[in-house]
């Protein structure tokens, strides 16, 4: 009684002021816990006296007549109905028993219910469904015919309709296990992963752009391909979960496992000029918390961001404890080392090496020229001493001194970062300092800078470079650089204006130097400080650098010569190591003007070097630099309060003692058999994919406010079975499609429409409009255009011009893909968040801006216009027109074939006659030039009038309800 009847009333009318939220609680009374309700609130009057409604304050107040007494207060405009009041009274009279909310109680498999129609059930699912139907006085529908079944199975399992040949193979297979064989074949199809990946990507809020104003493209499709592959391989759902939430934390994490962490890198990235990057990082973590809650727990924990949850037992503090798990990662870019690309790169490198080794042969008097060069360069090279910082400090970034005395920068960054470096050197008479900025493959675009949004990736902006000794600022006379981006020269770093500075855009991935010449030599270097300011309207710090000093009295300038080459030049030849000699030789060969022509060929080869695709991943922070998580007052970024440590919600089983308090611990906890939610939430989503409606219809909310399950015991049975089947999703899919429940015809009788309009009881099979991508996939397959290629970068199929440019701030020129790439499956279509692919948006596909557990299914005139008139569908109709015109046979035979291609089943004689008539009429109109056949059919060979008539007929079939709906 409590869970079904009482809690919903209390949740709706009472918990807002007398529930789990201690900040919103009135009169110190809470009614969500039995003991507290028996104690009463400030008045000390027991709100509930079990068995005695007449002594219960709650009953007195809800039945009160006095405006000041009545509960809920009339001002809340949330009155109880008479029936609700009676329910509460009866409940207290019966002992006021509280029960844990069903979703928080671990699921169990109860014995299968007894049914009368024992011949109907095919597997356990059917017993639960039938028992309920019989209780409601309903009968299941007959099994659907074979054409319907084969279409349903294809669309559900691989998301594509069967070809006429595939259809006939099944329809004519009279073996008793024909159905099972088909199911197994579809489960093994590589298209299975594509179909099911798209649903998962809705939850993952996958998209190919960053979102917000600029909405620039990003590369994260390797994550999308990971999902497809994992589903095809039937990766157990527990492992599937762990790798996506914490793949980087697994011992010896593979590249694939790191790619999997892209799940939570699908958050948006605001690149608008002038934003506070830390604020949007915070929102991204907020999103990760909400998405984790929705995807695995089916809980709307987002509510607790701002205040303790009004309805569900989640405290605000617990929300931030949960956030702490997800808030301790850096967000690097991972190059994906595909073996085919590695092979190509090695081949080119080999060619380059051969050519470089060959270079000396192309120079006359090589030996003497090389010697002259060394002497000349050595004479003008200043001797630098690398200074190892004794102390490094920054406002926010984390500075680490590496073995080579360079400094690596990690952690968070702001729009104004200051690095403070202290040195202690015995050098006397320092005349200049050198700043080497160094590439590092951990940095964006390999550095040397840390710019990761808005500005040029891997660049930096050194606004000011200050030198101090003995507490005094030393004037810098001159600054030079080996490389600079336009006007952003090194001397801008000593002009005292923080709005100007040095940057190296265009020189990413290489080392550069700047030399700062002191106005006066520094007598003593025992207390030397360097302070660097990086200030821009985006975060623009340096990622790796090294400081050196010289006492040379010649004016030192920055040179485009690597520091180690300079070092080698200053050594007497006999003291140079083999490696140093090689470096010198390389430097000479790569700069000697006489070899320019030969080097051009080498450059050409370098440009051919294919880049590895990249993807976005999570990488746990190093233990020495954890990111603290705070409780934020009212959920506001600017109001952090006390620090919190990672933990799970108290209403759910605790984290095991030995579990690590990080994402890995969290992921394992989510898929532990003790977790009452994950199995139910997961199976409920699978169920909804097949039946168009979940056993719990609120797929994203299993909390108190969610709708209760229609078949609680079935849901629990499935949840337990999933774990028993070692989290195999394919086995569960097989179980579902083999059930008699699934195999029913979907006809809606007036009786069923009246009794069960939403088909909650499943007295019939599902009828659901195809999802946006599948609708397009189906038309492409029917028309023979579909490319069956799996995976790879996203593609740009045709769509009306202007969709991604007109009115879009972050404009994207939609350069339509060529050849088969025009006809890839929908999930490969480039997904732009602020201006989504028009056809998909029209058919309710999500934009990737938020996690979507359940897509809307709308039915609108704009959808009709799309299917009727969109150029992509016209192109498909023309392809079918071509195919039909080229096909032999009578018109009626070809109509039959066309019909099967689009709708799977053969047409009825009446339908066929109608279509033949339509074909003849349009062909006739074309022949009479009433219609411009060439315009309709497009240019191609063959009888244009025939092609046009077939084209318009194909267009009809694409638009039939039967083609749009899975039934």
């Amino acid at each position: 009684m409590f869970n079904n009847d009482v809690r919903p009333i209390l949740a709706k009318h009472c918990f807002k002021c007398h529930g789990p939220d201690d900040k919103a609680r009135k009169a110190k009374l809470r009614l969500d816990q039995r003991d507290a309700a028996r104690r009463g609130g400030r008045s000390k009057q027991p709100a509930i006296v079990p068995g005695h409604p007449e002594q219960s304050e709650l009953i007195r107040r809800i039945f009160a007549e006095d405006e000041g007494e009545i509960m809920p207060p009339p001002t809340t405009k949330n009155p109880l109905t008479e029936e609700e009041k009676q329910i509460l009274k009866r409940w207290i009279a019966a002992g006021a028993e509280y029960r844990q909310h069903w979703a928080f109680v671990p699921p169990k498999q109860v014995p299968l219910p007894k049914v009368k129609q024992t011949s109907w059930p095919r597997n356990p699912i059917d017993y639960f469904i039938l028992a309920r139907l019989e209780a409601e006085g309903l009968k299941p529908s007959p099994e659907a015919d074979r054409y319907t079944l084969v279409r349903r199975l294809y669309l559900d399992l691989i998301g594509l309709p069967p070809t006429p040949e595939e259809t006939e193979a099944f329809v004519n297979d009279k073996s008793p296990d024909a159905y099972e064989k088909l199911v197994d074949r579809l489960l093994a199809s590589p298209h299975y992963g594509e179909r099911w990946a798209r649903r998962w990507l809705d939850l993952a809020r996958y998209a190919d752009t960053n979102g917000y104003e600029k909405d620039r493209p990003r590369s994260i499709w390797p994550y999308r391909d990971w999902v497809i592959n994992a589903l095809n391989a039937d990766m157990p759902f527990d492992q599937f979960t762990i790798e996506q939430l914490a793949g980087d934390l697994l011992p010896g994490a593979t590249e694939d496992q790191k790619i999997a962490t892209g799940f939570h890198r699908n958050t948006m990235l605001n690149e608008e000029g002038g934003i506070d990057p830390l604020e949007y990082r915070f929102y991204a973590v907020v999103d990760r918390v909400a998405v984790t809650g929705t995807t695995w727990l089916g809980l709307t924990i987002g509510c607790a961001q701002c205040h303790t949850h009004k309805f569900d037992p989640i405290l605000q503090r617990e929300y931030y404890q949960f956030m702490a798990f997800l808030n301790n990662a850096d967000e690097p870019v991972l190059p994906v080392h595909r073996p085919d690309i590695t092979r190509q790169r090695q081949e080119i490198e080999k060619k380059i090496a051969t050519r470089v080794a060959d270079l000396p042969r192309h120079m006359d008097n090589f030996e003497s020229k090389y010697r002259q060069w060394q002497e000349h360069e050595a004479a003008r090279t200043v001797r630098w001493t690398v200074l190892r910082p004794t102390r490094v400090k920054a406002n926010l970034p984390h500075l680490t001194v590496l073995d080579d005395a360079s400094v690596f920068v990690s952690g968070d960054q702001s729009k104004s970062d200051t690095y403070d470096l202290s040195f202690h050197t015995d050098l006397r008479g320092i005349t200049a300092l050198r700043l080497e900025v160094l590439p590092d493959d951990r940095l964006p675009a390999e550095g040397p800078g840390r710019i990761y949004y808005e500005g040029p990736f891997g660049d930096f902006f050194l606004s000011e470079f200050r030198v101090m000794a003995g507490g005094k600022k030393l004037p810098v006379a001159k600054a030079t650089h080996s490389f600079a981006a336009g006007k952003a020269t090194a001397d801008k770093a000593i002009d005292g204006d923080p709005q100007t500075g040095w940057s190296i855009n265009g020189g990413q991935g290489r080392a550069h130097t700047a030399v700062f010449m002191l106005a006066e030599p520094l007598a003593e270097g025992k207390d030397l400080h360097v302070q660097m300011l990086f200030e821009r309207y985006y975060a623009a710090g340096l990622g790796r650098f090294r400081i050196s000093a010289t006492t040379d009295t010649r004016p030192a300038v920055a040179r485009d010569m690597p520091a180690d080459v300079e070092d080698a030049l200053l050594l007497p030849e006999e003291k140079r190591t083999h490696e140093q000699k090689q470096r010198l030789l390389q430097q000479f060969l790569m700069t000697a003007p006489e070899l320019a022509k030969e080097r051009a060929e080498i450059e050409r080869l370098r440009k051919q070097m294919p880049a590895y695709p990249t993807t976005l991943i999570l990488a746990e922070r190093p233990p020495e630099n954890p990111r603290p998580t705070f409780l934020h007052n009212r959920g506001e970024f600017l109001q952090p309060k006390e620090r919190v440590e990672p933990n799970v919600f108290s209403v759910l089983p605790p984290l095991p003692k030995e579990a690590p308090r990080n994402r890995l611990g969290l992921a394992r906890w989510l898929v532990s058999p003790e977790n009452p939610l994950t199995g139910r939430v997961t199976m409920n989503r699978q169920w909804a994919a097949f039946f168009g409606r979940g056993i719990v219809p609120t797929l994203q909310d299993f909390g108190y406010q969610g709708e209760p399950p229609s078949h609680p015991e079935l849901l629990d049975w499935l949840a337990v079975e999933l774990v028993k089947q070692k989290w195999s999703i394919k086995k569960m899919h097989k179980l579902i499609v083999k059930s008699a429940t699934y195999r029913q015809a979907s006809r809606v009788t007036p009786e069923l429409l009246a009794k069960d309009p939403h088909n909650v009881l499943l007295a019939r099979g599902p009828r659901v409009r195809l999802e946006a991508e599948l609708l397009r996939d189906a038309v492409l397959r029917s028309s023979g255009l579909l490319s069956e290629k799996i995976g790879g970068p996203s593609v740009f199929p045709p769509q009306p011009p202007g969709v991604t440019t007109e009115g879009a701030y972050g404009q994207l020129q939609w350069k339509v893909s060529e050849g088969p790439e025009r006809y890839r499956r929908g999930l490969y279509t480039f997904s732009k968040r602020t201006a989504p692919f028009a056809m998909f948006a029209t058919f309710d596909a999500p934009s990737g801006e938020v996690c979507v557990a359940r897509r809307e299914v709308s039915n609108t005139p704009l959808q009709a216009l799309t299917l009727l008139n969109d150029p992509a569908f016209t192109e498909a109709a023309q392809a079918l027109g071509r195919m039909m015109a080229a096909r032999t046979g009578t018109v009626a035979e070809r109509v039959d074939y066309l019909f099967r291609r689009c709708l799977t089943r053969p047409p009825s004689p009446e339908e066929k006659a109608q279509l033949v008539k339509f074909f003849q009429m349009q062909k006739h109109r074309c022949e009479r030039k009433e219609l411009d056949a060439a315009k309709i059919a497009g240019t191609d060979n063959g009888d244009v009038n025939e092609r046009a008539a077939w084209t318009v007929l194909a267009r009809i079939l694409f638009n039939l309800d039967e083609a749009i709906v899975k039934d």
Binding site: P800, G802, E806, S847, L862, L868, Q914, E962
Partner: protein
Amino acid sequence: MYDIHEYARQITRRHFFRECGVGLGKIALAGLLTDAFAARSSALGTPTQPRSPTADPLAPRQPHFAPKAKRVIHLFMAGAPSQLDLFDYKPQLAKLEGKPLPPSIIGGQRYAFIRPDAAVLGPRFKFAKHGECGAELSEILPYLATVVDDICIVKSVHTDQFNHAPAQIFFNTGFAQPGRPSLGSWVLYGLGSLTRDLPAFVVMSTGSGISGGSANWSSGFLPTIYSGVRLRNQGDPILNVSSPPGVDPRLQRDSLDLIGSFNKRRLETEGDPEIATRIASYEMAFRLQTSAPELMDLRQETKATLEMYGADPDKPSFARACLLARRLIERGVRFVNIYHEGWDAHSDVSGNHKKNCGDTDRASAALVKDLKQRGLLDDTLVIWGGEFGRTPMVETNPALGRSLGRDHHPQAFTMWLAGGGVKAGLTYGATDELGFHVVENPVHVHDVQATILHLLGFDHEKLTYRHAGRDFRLTDVHGQVVMDLLA
């Protein structure tokens, strides 16, 4: 004049059976079709009552109380105009020009581009008082000056957001991240549509691009049928509204008849009400193919009207969009959003605003005038404004090639409203002598939203939708109706 009730007459069941070739089927079928087609304003109660599965989501509905406004035209000045150079005249800024503001005023405010110690920039234009109300306007709004007695200027609007995309999304959806329903979607959800020949929530864009993207007119978690529909500047005004090349009207009609006849047979055998809805959708699509070109045909307008707006019938512009907005609401469209982007004057605020006023001032004023002379202003609410204001301080940065601009300023900005039950001739709210903070009658963005909903007959706390275990509303947990603005 177009009669919005014409629709109801057209789509009687009898019309449908006659014109759409639907024979007399079973009683149940007829019932389903009626459900799918009928606009049942009386059968539906308050907007938040649960609706039956076959109910028409766009059927006209009554709001909570008698509305003042029945439709809305929102002129969204994206990029954020400078209130200090258009409406909120601050002579003190001219006196202080070149000097930094005291830190006590700036407080801890974060800025997008400038440093907090940036110097003050005086008003770039002359101001004068206009109309009987004596409202003060910049010289670059000469047309608005002619309707100043018909509008209500609010100088004390403030927002939480200081970046474009979040601030635009915040203004439109009450939340700074994408995912919630927009104002137009809430209005459609609450009021339904008065037309089936055009989309009921129409979005136009006449500038360089909208920072917040489609989240600004998204239906969020409301059913997607409540999303804004783009009226485009290129190609088809509504996506795919033209038949494919070579398909003449007769072929289109024949095709739809054949589709309809197949779908009708399907409905008879399968009995799913969704099929009836689909049949209706295809008929509406067909009508859209006629009504969209008719809408776009500005040659029907008099020369005087075109002249008043400054609209070239064939050239996309803000002026043409305003004229189309009037035509849209005449045809029963509920909510029109025109985005004019490009006000983001980080440099040369003077040149930028001269250009943008040149593009928008005349048509904005013409729209008010035109609605008034046609008797439409009384129940049409016109809103003009951006997502935030601009700083009293100058933005100058040689490294970025910027000079004499202004940065983003969330603390205070100006909007104006007209018609739809708003007090005409009122200037409301005030900022301090530097135009930095609101000092009188602050109006938060959530208050603007609450007030708009109030004018449309809604209690903003009651217009809710249950999603993910919570009743959401446009104003989140905030918002006060600004009673002072109501006529």
